[in-house]
Protein backbone atom coordinates (compact mmCIF):
# COMPACT_ATOMS: atom_id res chain seq x y z
CA UNK A 1 0.00 0.00 0.00
CA UNK A 2 1.46 3.33 -0.96
CA UNK A 3 1.42 6.29 1.36
CA UNK A 4 -0.48 9.37 0.41
CA UNK A 5 0.71 12.66 1.80
CA UNK A 6 -2.77 14.15 1.61
CA UNK A 7 -3.76 11.66 4.33
CA UNK A 8 -1.18 13.12 6.71
CA UNK A 9 -3.62 14.83 9.02
CA UNK A 10 -3.85 14.52 12.77
CA UNK A 11 -6.53 12.20 14.12
CA UNK A 12 -7.86 15.13 16.14
CA UNK A 13 -6.65 18.70 16.74
CA UNK A 14 -3.93 19.42 19.30
CA UNK A 15 -3.21 22.72 21.05
CA UNK A 16 -0.52 24.23 23.24
CA UNK A 17 -1.86 25.80 26.43
CA UNK A 18 1.34 26.59 28.33
CA UNK A 19 5.07 27.07 27.82
CA UNK A 20 8.03 27.51 30.12
CA UNK A 21 11.76 28.02 29.88
CA UNK A 22 14.67 28.01 32.29
CA UNK A 23 17.15 30.83 32.07
CA UNK A 24 19.66 29.88 29.32
CA UNK A 25 23.36 30.24 30.10
CA UNK A 26 26.23 28.54 31.91
CA UNK A 27 25.26 27.23 35.33
CA UNK A 28 28.05 25.33 37.07
CA UNK A 29 25.86 24.43 40.05
CA UNK A 30 22.94 22.96 38.09
CA UNK A 31 22.39 19.58 36.44
CA UNK A 32 20.00 19.06 33.54
CA UNK A 33 17.23 17.84 35.86
CA UNK A 34 17.41 21.12 37.83
CA UNK A 35 17.08 23.13 34.64
CA UNK A 36 14.08 21.04 33.62
CA UNK A 37 12.40 21.70 36.97
CA UNK A 38 13.00 25.43 36.45
CA UNK A 39 11.34 25.31 33.01
CA UNK A 40 8.44 23.21 34.35
CA UNK A 41 7.79 25.61 37.22
CA UNK A 42 7.89 28.56 34.80
CA UNK A 43 5.26 26.80 32.70
CA UNK A 44 3.04 26.01 35.71
CA UNK A 45 3.33 29.57 37.03
CA UNK A 46 2.14 30.96 33.69
CA UNK A 47 -0.69 28.53 32.95
CA UNK A 48 -3.71 30.81 32.75
CA UNK A 49 -6.08 28.53 34.65
CA UNK A 50 -3.53 26.27 36.34
CA UNK A 51 -3.37 22.48 36.34
CA UNK A 52 -3.22 19.67 38.84
CA UNK A 53 0.16 18.14 37.87
CA UNK A 54 -1.34 14.69 38.44
CA UNK A 55 -3.60 15.28 35.42
CA UNK A 56 -0.61 15.06 33.07
CA UNK A 57 -0.90 11.64 31.47
CA UNK A 58 2.30 11.20 29.52
CA UNK A 59 5.54 13.06 28.78
CA UNK A 60 8.37 13.16 26.24
CA UNK A 61 11.81 14.58 26.92
CA UNK A 62 14.20 15.67 24.15
CA UNK A 63 17.83 15.27 25.13
CA UNK A 64 20.84 14.84 22.87
CA UNK A 65 23.63 13.55 25.00
CA UNK A 66 23.34 13.55 28.76
CA UNK A 67 25.31 10.31 28.34
CA UNK A 68 28.44 12.14 27.18
CA UNK A 69 27.87 15.54 28.84
CA UNK A 70 26.81 14.30 32.28
CA UNK A 71 27.62 10.58 32.16
CA UNK A 72 23.92 9.96 32.68
CA UNK A 73 21.77 7.78 30.46
CA UNK A 74 18.10 6.89 30.88
CA UNK A 75 17.14 10.44 31.83
CA UNK A 76 13.38 10.14 31.25
CA UNK A 77 12.53 8.47 34.60
CA UNK A 78 14.78 10.95 36.39
CA UNK A 79 12.73 13.81 34.95
CA UNK A 80 9.52 11.96 35.89
CA UNK A 81 10.82 11.72 39.46
CA UNK A 82 12.05 15.31 39.72
CA UNK A 83 8.75 16.66 38.39
CA UNK A 84 6.72 14.33 40.62
CA UNK A 85 5.12 12.67 37.60
CA UNK A 86 5.76 8.98 38.30
CA UNK A 87 4.28 6.53 37.35
CA UNK A 88 3.13 8.07 34.03
CA UNK A 89 5.04 6.99 30.91
CA UNK A 90 7.96 9.30 30.12
CA UNK A 91 10.21 8.70 27.13
CA UNK A 92 13.46 10.31 26.05
CA UNK A 93 13.82 11.17 22.35
CA UNK A 94 17.26 11.68 20.77
CA UNK A 95 17.62 13.30 17.35
CA UNK A 96 20.69 15.47 17.95
CA UNK A 97 19.76 19.19 18.02
CA UNK A 98 16.25 18.27 16.86
CA UNK A 99 15.64 16.04 19.89
CA UNK A 100 12.90 18.13 21.45
CA UNK A 101 11.38 19.04 18.08
CA UNK A 102 11.04 15.31 17.51
CA UNK A 103 9.79 14.80 21.08
CA UNK A 104 7.10 17.38 20.42
CA UNK A 105 5.86 15.41 17.44
CA UNK A 106 5.64 12.27 19.57
CA UNK A 107 3.52 14.23 22.04
CA UNK A 108 1.30 15.58 19.27
CA UNK A 109 0.77 12.09 17.88
CA UNK A 110 0.08 10.63 21.34
CA UNK A 111 -2.84 13.06 21.70
CA UNK A 112 -3.97 12.87 18.06
CA UNK A 113 -4.16 9.08 18.39
CA UNK A 114 -6.77 9.51 21.11
CA UNK A 115 -4.65 7.74 23.75
CA UNK A 116 -4.07 10.83 25.94
CA UNK A 117 -5.61 14.28 26.37
CA UNK A 118 -2.82 15.99 28.34
CA UNK A 119 0.88 15.54 27.49
CA UNK A 120 3.95 17.46 28.64
CA UNK A 121 6.87 17.78 26.21
CA UNK A 122 10.22 19.32 27.02
CA UNK A 123 13.89 19.26 26.26
CA UNK A 124 17.11 19.84 28.12
CA UNK A 125 20.87 19.91 27.76
CA UNK A 126 23.66 20.51 30.23
CA UNK A 127 26.69 21.27 28.04
CA UNK A 128 29.11 23.42 30.04
CA UNK A 129 30.21 20.43 32.11
CA UNK A 130 32.80 19.75 29.38
CA UNK A 131 35.55 22.03 28.02
CA UNK A 132 35.03 23.44 24.51
CA UNK A 133 37.10 20.70 22.81
CA UNK A 134 35.02 18.07 24.59
CA UNK A 135 31.78 19.73 23.47
CA UNK A 136 33.11 19.89 19.89
CA UNK A 137 33.80 16.15 19.99
CA UNK A 138 30.33 15.38 21.43
CA UNK A 139 28.61 17.52 18.77
CA UNK A 140 30.67 15.81 16.07
CA UNK A 141 28.98 12.53 17.00
CA UNK A 142 25.85 13.94 15.31
CA UNK A 143 27.70 13.70 11.97
CA UNK A 144 28.67 10.45 10.24
CA UNK A 145 31.47 9.01 12.36
CA UNK A 146 32.69 6.74 9.57
CA UNK A 147 32.62 8.99 6.50
CA UNK A 148 32.53 12.65 7.64
CA UNK A 149 34.37 12.96 10.96
CA UNK A 150 37.55 11.11 9.82
CA UNK A 151 37.96 13.74 7.06
CA UNK A 152 38.45 16.30 9.82
CA UNK A 153 34.97 17.76 9.43
CA UNK A 154 33.66 19.27 12.63
CA UNK A 155 30.13 20.52 13.23
CA UNK A 156 31.09 24.15 12.42
CA UNK A 157 33.21 22.73 9.60
CA UNK A 158 30.25 21.15 7.80
CA UNK A 159 28.28 24.40 8.05
CA UNK A 160 31.41 26.24 6.94
CA UNK A 161 31.46 24.03 3.84
CA UNK A 162 27.77 24.83 3.24
CA UNK A 163 28.58 28.55 3.57
CA UNK A 164 31.47 28.27 1.09
CA UNK A 165 29.13 26.58 -1.39
CA UNK A 166 26.41 29.20 -0.84
CA UNK A 167 28.84 32.10 -1.31
CA UNK A 168 30.22 30.38 -4.39
CA UNK A 169 26.84 29.82 -6.01
CA UNK A 170 24.99 32.98 -4.96
CA UNK A 171 25.68 36.59 -4.00
CA UNK A 172 25.95 35.70 -0.30
CA UNK A 173 28.99 37.28 1.36
CA UNK A 174 30.76 37.39 4.72
CA UNK A 175 28.89 40.55 5.76
CA UNK A 176 25.54 38.82 5.28
CA UNK A 177 26.63 36.13 7.73
CA UNK A 178 27.72 38.69 10.33
CA UNK A 179 24.47 40.62 9.94
CA UNK A 180 22.47 37.55 10.98
CA UNK A 181 24.41 37.58 14.24
CA UNK A 182 23.94 41.32 14.76
CA UNK A 183 20.18 41.00 14.28
CA UNK A 184 19.86 38.00 16.58
CA UNK A 185 21.85 39.72 19.32
CA UNK A 186 19.58 42.76 18.99
CA UNK A 187 16.60 40.47 19.64
CA UNK A 188 18.41 38.56 22.39
CA UNK A 189 19.08 41.84 24.17
CA UNK A 190 15.28 42.11 24.56
CA UNK A 191 14.93 38.58 25.94
CA UNK A 192 15.58 38.40 29.71
CA UNK A 193 16.14 34.63 29.54
CA UNK A 194 18.73 34.79 26.74
CA UNK A 195 22.31 33.66 27.39
CA UNK A 196 23.55 36.72 25.49
CA UNK A 197 21.16 39.39 26.64
CA UNK A 198 23.34 42.00 24.89
CA UNK A 199 23.81 43.53 21.46
CA UNK A 200 27.05 43.21 19.49
CA UNK A 201 27.32 46.98 19.98
CA UNK A 202 27.31 46.40 23.77
CA UNK A 203 30.00 43.72 23.44
CA UNK A 204 32.11 46.03 21.26
CA UNK A 205 31.85 48.89 23.77
CA UNK A 206 32.77 46.54 26.62
CA UNK A 207 35.89 45.42 24.77
CA UNK A 208 36.93 49.02 24.16
CA UNK A 209 36.25 49.96 27.80
CA UNK A 210 38.23 46.99 29.08
CA UNK A 211 41.24 47.91 26.95
CA UNK A 212 41.06 51.46 28.30
CA UNK A 213 40.87 50.28 31.94
CA UNK A 214 43.92 48.09 31.46
CA UNK A 215 45.86 50.84 29.75
CA UNK A 216 46.05 48.80 26.53
CA UNK A 217 45.64 50.28 23.05
CA UNK A 218 41.91 50.88 22.54
CA UNK A 219 40.65 49.28 19.31
CA UNK A 220 39.36 51.89 16.86
CA UNK A 221 35.96 50.37 16.20
CA UNK A 222 33.36 52.70 14.72
CA UNK A 223 30.71 50.20 13.74
CA UNK A 224 29.79 46.68 14.83
CA UNK A 225 31.22 45.46 11.52
CA UNK A 226 34.65 46.85 12.50
CA UNK A 227 34.48 44.84 15.72
CA UNK A 228 33.31 41.69 13.93
CA UNK A 229 36.04 42.02 11.30
CA UNK A 230 38.77 42.16 13.98
CA UNK A 231 40.24 38.64 14.20
CA UNK A 232 41.25 39.38 17.79
CA UNK A 233 37.63 39.94 18.77
CA UNK A 234 36.04 37.52 16.33
CA UNK A 235 38.49 34.71 15.53
CA UNK A 236 38.04 32.17 12.74
CA UNK A 237 36.44 28.87 13.74
CA UNK A 238 35.88 27.14 10.39
CA UNK A 239 36.18 29.32 7.29
CA UNK A 240 34.07 31.25 6.43
CA UNK A 241 32.58 31.07 9.94
CA UNK A 242 33.92 33.06 12.88
CA UNK A 243 33.12 32.99 16.59
CA UNK A 244 30.12 35.31 16.16
CA UNK A 245 28.74 33.07 13.42
CA UNK A 246 28.34 30.21 15.90
CA UNK A 247 25.70 29.50 18.53
CA UNK A 248 27.20 29.26 22.03
CA UNK A 249 27.56 26.31 24.39
CA UNK A 250 24.54 26.49 26.69
CA UNK A 251 22.79 24.90 29.65
CA UNK A 252 19.01 25.12 29.60
CA UNK A 253 15.59 23.50 29.39
CA UNK A 254 12.15 24.30 27.98
CA UNK A 255 8.75 22.66 28.05
CA UNK A 256 5.21 23.00 26.76
CA UNK A 257 1.84 21.55 27.74
CA UNK A 258 -0.05 19.91 24.86
CA UNK A 259 -3.73 19.06 25.12
CA UNK A 260 -6.52 17.83 22.88
CA UNK A 261 -8.01 21.03 21.45
CA UNK A 262 -11.44 19.96 22.67
CA UNK A 263 -10.28 20.41 26.30
CA UNK A 264 -7.96 23.41 25.71
CA UNK A 265 -10.40 25.91 27.17
CA UNK A 266 -10.11 24.16 30.56
CA UNK A 267 -6.60 25.63 30.69
CA UNK A 268 -6.69 28.95 28.87
CA UNK A 269 -8.81 31.28 26.80
CA UNK A 270 -5.89 31.71 24.41
CA UNK A 271 -4.80 28.25 23.23
CA UNK A 272 -2.42 28.00 20.29
CA UNK A 273 -3.28 25.30 17.79
CA UNK A 274 -0.64 23.04 16.26
CA UNK A 275 -1.92 23.61 12.75
CA UNK A 276 0.76 21.64 10.96
CA UNK A 277 3.78 19.51 11.69
CA UNK A 278 6.36 17.84 9.48
CA UNK A 279 9.52 15.87 10.03
CA UNK A 280 12.02 14.48 7.55
CA UNK A 281 15.41 12.79 7.39
CA UNK A 282 18.33 13.66 5.15
CA UNK A 283 21.65 12.17 4.01
CA UNK A 284 25.12 13.47 4.97
CA UNK A 285 26.13 16.66 3.16
CA UNK A 286 28.37 14.86 0.64
CA UNK A 287 25.42 12.67 -0.40
CA UNK A 288 22.83 15.48 -0.30
CA UNK A 289 21.03 16.67 -3.43
CA UNK A 290 22.51 20.14 -2.99
CA UNK A 291 25.32 21.66 -0.93
CA UNK A 292 23.38 24.90 -0.40
CA UNK A 293 20.16 23.58 1.08
CA UNK A 294 18.89 20.95 3.53
CA UNK A 295 16.56 18.54 1.75
CA UNK A 296 15.06 17.43 5.08
CA UNK A 297 14.04 21.03 5.83
CA UNK A 298 12.27 21.38 2.50
CA UNK A 299 10.47 18.06 2.95
CA UNK A 300 9.45 18.77 6.57
CA UNK A 301 8.24 22.26 5.63
CA UNK A 302 6.25 20.89 2.69
CA UNK A 303 4.44 18.44 4.97
CA UNK A 304 3.76 21.08 7.63
CA UNK A 305 2.43 23.64 5.12
CA UNK A 306 0.20 21.00 3.57
CA UNK A 307 -1.23 19.88 6.90
CA UNK A 308 -1.88 23.46 7.97
CA UNK A 309 -3.23 24.47 4.56
CA UNK A 310 -1.05 27.58 4.44
CA UNK A 311 1.82 28.88 2.31
CA UNK A 312 5.20 30.30 3.27
CA UNK A 313 3.97 33.81 2.43
CA UNK A 314 1.31 33.59 5.14
CA UNK A 315 3.79 32.88 7.96
CA UNK A 316 4.13 36.07 10.05
CA UNK A 317 6.88 35.14 12.52
CA UNK A 318 9.38 32.28 12.63
CA UNK A 319 12.01 30.72 14.85
CA UNK A 320 14.59 28.95 12.69
CA UNK A 321 17.59 26.82 13.59
CA UNK A 322 20.50 29.28 13.45
CA UNK A 323 23.15 27.01 14.97
CA UNK A 324 25.38 28.99 12.58
CA UNK A 325 24.56 32.21 10.77
CA UNK A 326 24.58 30.46 7.38
CA UNK A 327 22.01 28.00 8.76
CA UNK A 328 19.51 30.84 9.26
CA UNK A 329 20.07 32.05 5.70
CA UNK A 330 19.49 28.64 4.13
CA UNK A 331 16.56 27.96 6.47
CA UNK A 332 14.83 31.11 5.23
CA UNK A 333 15.26 29.79 1.69
CA UNK A 334 14.36 26.13 2.41
CA UNK A 335 11.17 27.30 4.14
CA UNK A 336 10.20 29.28 1.05
CA UNK A 337 10.36 32.72 2.71
CA UNK A 338 12.91 33.86 0.14
CA UNK A 339 14.08 32.46 -3.20
CA UNK A 340 17.22 30.28 -3.16
CA UNK A 341 20.25 32.56 -2.86
CA UNK A 342 18.30 35.56 -1.59
CA UNK A 343 18.34 34.79 2.15
CA UNK A 344 21.53 36.76 2.77
CA UNK A 345 20.25 39.85 1.00
CA UNK A 346 16.96 39.65 2.93
CA UNK A 347 18.92 39.93 6.18
CA UNK A 348 20.94 42.82 4.76
CA UNK A 349 17.73 44.65 3.86
CA UNK A 350 16.31 44.19 7.38
CA UNK A 351 13.43 42.06 6.19
CA UNK A 352 14.01 39.49 8.96
CA UNK A 353 14.46 42.03 11.75
CA UNK A 354 11.88 42.40 14.53
CA UNK A 355 10.17 45.19 12.58
CA UNK A 356 10.71 43.59 9.16
CA UNK A 357 8.08 41.95 6.98
CA UNK A 358 9.32 38.46 7.96
CA UNK A 359 10.66 38.58 11.54
CA UNK A 360 12.99 35.63 12.19
CA UNK A 361 14.36 34.57 15.57
CA UNK A 362 12.69 37.20 17.70
CA UNK A 363 13.92 35.28 20.78
CA UNK A 364 17.52 35.97 19.79
CA UNK A 365 17.67 32.59 18.07
CA UNK A 366 20.14 29.92 19.01
CA UNK A 367 22.88 32.50 18.47
CA UNK A 368 21.93 34.90 21.27
CA UNK A 369 19.24 33.10 23.29
CA UNK A 370 21.61 30.12 23.52
CA UNK A 371 21.56 26.57 22.19
CA UNK A 372 21.18 23.84 24.81
CA UNK A 373 20.80 21.40 21.94
CA UNK A 374 18.15 19.07 23.34
CA UNK A 375 16.00 22.01 24.51
CA UNK A 376 16.13 24.19 21.41
CA UNK A 377 13.21 22.71 19.45
CA UNK A 378 10.73 23.23 22.27
CA UNK A 379 12.23 26.61 23.22
CA UNK A 380 11.46 27.77 19.66
CA UNK A 381 7.85 26.63 20.06
CA UNK A 382 7.65 28.47 23.41
CA UNK A 383 8.75 31.70 21.69
CA UNK A 384 6.11 31.44 18.95
CA UNK A 385 3.49 30.54 21.59
CA UNK A 386 4.28 33.79 23.42
CA UNK A 387 4.44 35.85 20.20
CA UNK A 388 1.03 34.64 18.98
CA UNK A 389 -0.50 35.36 22.41
CA UNK A 390 0.98 38.86 22.38
CA UNK A 391 3.02 38.27 25.52
CA UNK A 392 6.58 38.48 24.19
CA UNK A 393 7.33 41.71 26.03
CA UNK A 394 9.89 44.08 24.51
CA UNK A 395 10.48 41.77 21.58
CA UNK A 396 6.79 41.40 20.68
CA UNK A 397 6.22 41.49 16.92
CA UNK A 398 4.00 44.48 16.37
CA UNK A 399 1.69 43.33 13.60
CA UNK A 400 -2.08 43.53 13.58
CA UNK A 401 -3.76 40.12 13.44
CA UNK A 402 -0.68 38.10 14.30
CA UNK A 403 -1.98 34.60 13.81
CA UNK A 404 0.51 32.24 12.12
CA UNK A 405 4.01 31.32 13.28
CA UNK A 406 6.51 28.63 12.35
CA UNK A 407 9.39 26.74 13.98
CA UNK A 408 12.25 25.01 12.13
CA UNK A 409 14.48 22.69 14.16
CA UNK A 410 17.47 20.90 12.58
CA UNK A 411 19.26 17.85 13.93
CA UNK A 412 22.96 17.58 13.17
CA UNK A 413 23.84 18.89 9.75
CA UNK A 414 20.43 18.24 8.25
CA UNK A 415 19.98 14.57 9.06
CA UNK A 416 16.75 15.53 10.80
CA UNK A 417 14.43 18.50 10.43
CA UNK A 418 11.17 19.23 12.22
CA UNK A 419 8.87 22.07 11.15
CA UNK A 420 5.79 23.12 13.12
CA UNK A 421 3.15 25.68 12.22
CA UNK A 422 1.29 27.31 15.10
CA UNK A 423 -1.98 29.19 14.78
CA UNK A 424 -3.75 31.43 17.24
CA UNK A 425 -7.24 30.06 17.64
CA UNK A 426 -9.82 32.63 16.67
Amino acid sequence: MSTNSSKRQLGRPVSIVGAGMSRFGAFADKDSRDLFVEAFQDMLDNLDQGIDVRDIECAYVGNYSSDLFEHQGHTAPIIADWLGLTPIPVTRIENACASSGSALREGIMAIASGLYDIVMVGGMEKMTSLPTEGVTDVLATAADGLYEVPAGLTFPGIFGAIATAHMDRYETNLDHLLKVGIKNHENGALNPKAQFNVTIQNLMERRMARAQERGQPVPEYVTEMDFLNDPGANPWIAWPLRLYDCAPITDGAACVLLVASEVAHNFTDKPIELAGTGQASGRPLHDADELTSLSAAKAAAGNAYEMAGVTADEIQVAEVHDCFTIAEIIASEDLGFFAPGEGGMAVDEGRTALNGDKPINTSGGLKAKGHPVGASGVAQVAEIFHQLRGEAGDRQVNKPGLELGLTHNVGGTGGTCVVNILRRSS
Partner: protein, 138 residues
Protein backbone atom coordinates in the same frame (compact mmCIF):
# COMPACT_ATOMS: atom_id res chain seq x y z
CA UNK B 1 42.43 -6.50 -8.45
CA UNK B 2 40.00 -5.87 -5.67
CA UNK B 3 39.75 -8.51 -2.99
CA UNK B 4 36.24 -9.69 -3.83
CA UNK B 5 35.64 -11.39 -0.50
CA UNK B 6 35.90 -8.31 1.64
CA UNK B 7 32.66 -7.30 3.36
CA UNK B 8 31.01 -4.09 2.13
CA UNK B 9 31.82 -2.17 5.30
CA UNK B 10 33.85 0.79 6.58
CA UNK B 11 36.46 -1.65 7.88
CA UNK B 12 37.10 -2.84 4.33
CA UNK B 13 37.00 0.74 3.00
CA UNK B 14 39.75 1.66 5.46
CA UNK B 15 41.87 -1.41 4.66
CA UNK B 16 41.72 -0.47 0.99
CA UNK B 17 42.79 3.10 1.83
CA UNK B 18 45.68 2.15 4.08
CA UNK B 19 47.02 -1.12 2.65
CA UNK B 20 46.01 -1.07 -1.01
CA UNK B 21 46.10 2.76 -1.36
CA UNK B 22 42.84 2.62 -3.29
CA UNK B 23 39.51 4.39 -3.04
CA UNK B 24 37.08 1.50 -3.20
CA UNK B 25 33.32 1.89 -3.15
CA UNK B 26 30.48 -0.25 -4.41
CA UNK B 27 28.46 -0.62 -7.59
CA UNK B 28 24.89 -1.92 -7.46
CA UNK B 29 24.62 -4.60 -10.14
CA UNK B 30 20.86 -4.13 -10.31
CA UNK B 31 20.60 -0.38 -10.98
CA UNK B 32 24.18 0.77 -11.54
CA UNK B 33 24.25 3.23 -8.66
CA UNK B 34 27.74 3.94 -7.35
CA UNK B 35 28.41 4.61 -3.67
CA UNK B 36 31.87 5.56 -2.42
CA UNK B 37 30.75 4.33 1.01
CA UNK B 38 30.61 0.52 0.83
CA UNK B 39 27.20 -0.73 1.87
CA UNK B 40 25.54 -4.13 1.73
CA UNK B 41 22.27 -2.80 0.25
CA UNK B 42 21.77 -0.20 -2.48
CA UNK B 43 20.19 2.92 -1.00
CA UNK B 44 18.59 3.76 -4.34
CA UNK B 45 16.91 0.47 -5.40
CA UNK B 46 17.37 -1.71 -2.29
CA UNK B 47 19.23 -4.25 -4.44
CA UNK B 48 21.47 -6.67 -2.56
CA UNK B 49 23.85 -7.60 -5.37
CA UNK B 50 26.80 -5.27 -4.86
CA UNK B 51 30.32 -5.40 -6.23
CA UNK B 52 33.51 -3.53 -5.37
CA UNK B 53 34.26 -0.55 -7.59
CA UNK B 54 37.61 1.24 -7.75
CA UNK B 55 37.27 5.01 -8.21
CA UNK B 56 39.91 6.63 -10.41
CA UNK B 57 40.83 9.24 -7.81
CA UNK B 58 40.19 12.12 -10.20
CA UNK B 59 37.82 14.70 -8.76
CA UNK B 60 36.88 18.36 -8.45
CA UNK B 61 36.68 20.38 -5.26
CA UNK B 62 32.99 21.04 -4.61
CA UNK B 63 33.22 22.93 -1.34
CA UNK B 64 35.63 23.30 1.56
CA UNK B 65 36.31 24.83 4.95
CA UNK B 66 39.52 25.65 6.78
CA UNK B 67 39.30 24.60 10.39
CA UNK B 68 40.99 26.64 13.13
CA UNK B 69 39.20 25.20 16.17
CA UNK B 70 40.28 21.63 15.71
CA UNK B 71 39.20 18.32 17.22
CA UNK B 72 41.59 16.51 19.55
CA UNK B 73 42.72 14.10 16.84
CA UNK B 74 43.89 16.95 14.57
CA UNK B 75 45.37 18.87 17.48
CA UNK B 76 47.73 15.95 18.10
CA UNK B 77 48.95 16.36 14.53
CA UNK B 78 49.91 19.96 15.18
CA UNK B 79 46.86 21.69 13.74
CA UNK B 80 45.19 24.51 15.62
CA UNK B 81 44.36 28.19 15.71
CA UNK B 82 47.58 29.27 13.97
CA UNK B 83 47.81 26.23 11.74
CA UNK B 84 44.38 25.44 10.30
CA UNK B 85 43.74 22.51 7.96
CA UNK B 86 41.50 22.24 4.92
CA UNK B 87 38.73 19.70 4.52
CA UNK B 88 35.71 19.55 2.29
CA UNK B 89 33.73 17.67 -0.28
CA UNK B 90 34.97 16.46 -3.66
CA UNK B 91 32.93 15.31 -6.63
CA UNK B 92 34.52 12.21 -8.12
CA UNK B 93 34.77 12.01 -11.89
CA UNK B 94 32.42 9.02 -11.74
CA UNK B 95 29.71 11.28 -10.22
CA UNK B 96 29.33 10.68 -6.49
CA UNK B 97 30.64 13.09 -3.88
CA UNK B 98 32.54 12.35 -0.71
CA UNK B 99 33.99 14.11 2.32
CA UNK B 100 37.76 14.31 2.15
CA UNK B 101 40.82 15.86 3.73
CA UNK B 102 42.36 18.42 1.35
CA UNK B 103 46.15 18.73 1.33
CA UNK B 104 48.58 20.78 -0.75
CA UNK B 105 46.66 24.05 -0.23
CA UNK B 106 47.40 26.93 2.14
CA UNK B 107 44.64 26.72 4.74
CA UNK B 108 45.66 30.10 6.15
CA UNK B 109 44.56 31.67 2.83
CA UNK B 110 41.10 30.23 2.17
CA UNK B 111 40.32 33.09 -0.24
CA UNK B 112 42.91 31.57 -2.59
CA UNK B 113 41.38 28.08 -2.54
CA UNK B 114 39.01 27.75 -5.47
CA UNK B 115 36.04 25.44 -5.71
CA UNK B 116 35.89 23.61 -9.02
CA UNK B 117 39.63 23.00 -9.15
CA UNK B 118 40.86 19.60 -10.28
CA UNK B 119 41.94 17.28 -7.49
CA UNK B 120 43.63 13.92 -7.32
CA UNK B 121 43.62 11.21 -4.65
CA UNK B 122 46.84 11.15 -2.62
CA UNK B 123 47.06 8.38 -0.04
CA UNK B 124 50.83 8.53 0.44
CA UNK B 125 50.57 9.75 4.02
CA UNK B 126 47.18 8.41 5.02
CA UNK B 127 46.88 8.01 8.80
CA UNK B 128 46.52 4.29 9.63
CA UNK B 129 44.88 5.19 12.95
CA UNK B 130 42.16 7.28 11.30
CA UNK B 131 42.25 6.72 7.55
CA UNK B 132 40.36 9.15 5.35
CA UNK B 133 40.25 9.83 1.61
CA UNK B 134 42.80 12.58 0.99
CA UNK B 135 43.01 14.76 -2.13
CA UNK B 136 45.42 17.40 -3.42
CA UNK B 137 45.19 19.83 -6.32
CA UNK B 138 46.50 18.45 -9.62
Amino acid sequence: MAEENRAFTATSFNIYLTQDKKLMGVLCRACGTLSPEPRPMCHACHGRDMEWYEFSGKARLSTFTCISIVPEKMSKKGYGRDNPYCTGIVTLEEGPRLSALIIGVDATKPQDIKTGMEMVLDLAEVDPESPTPTFRPV
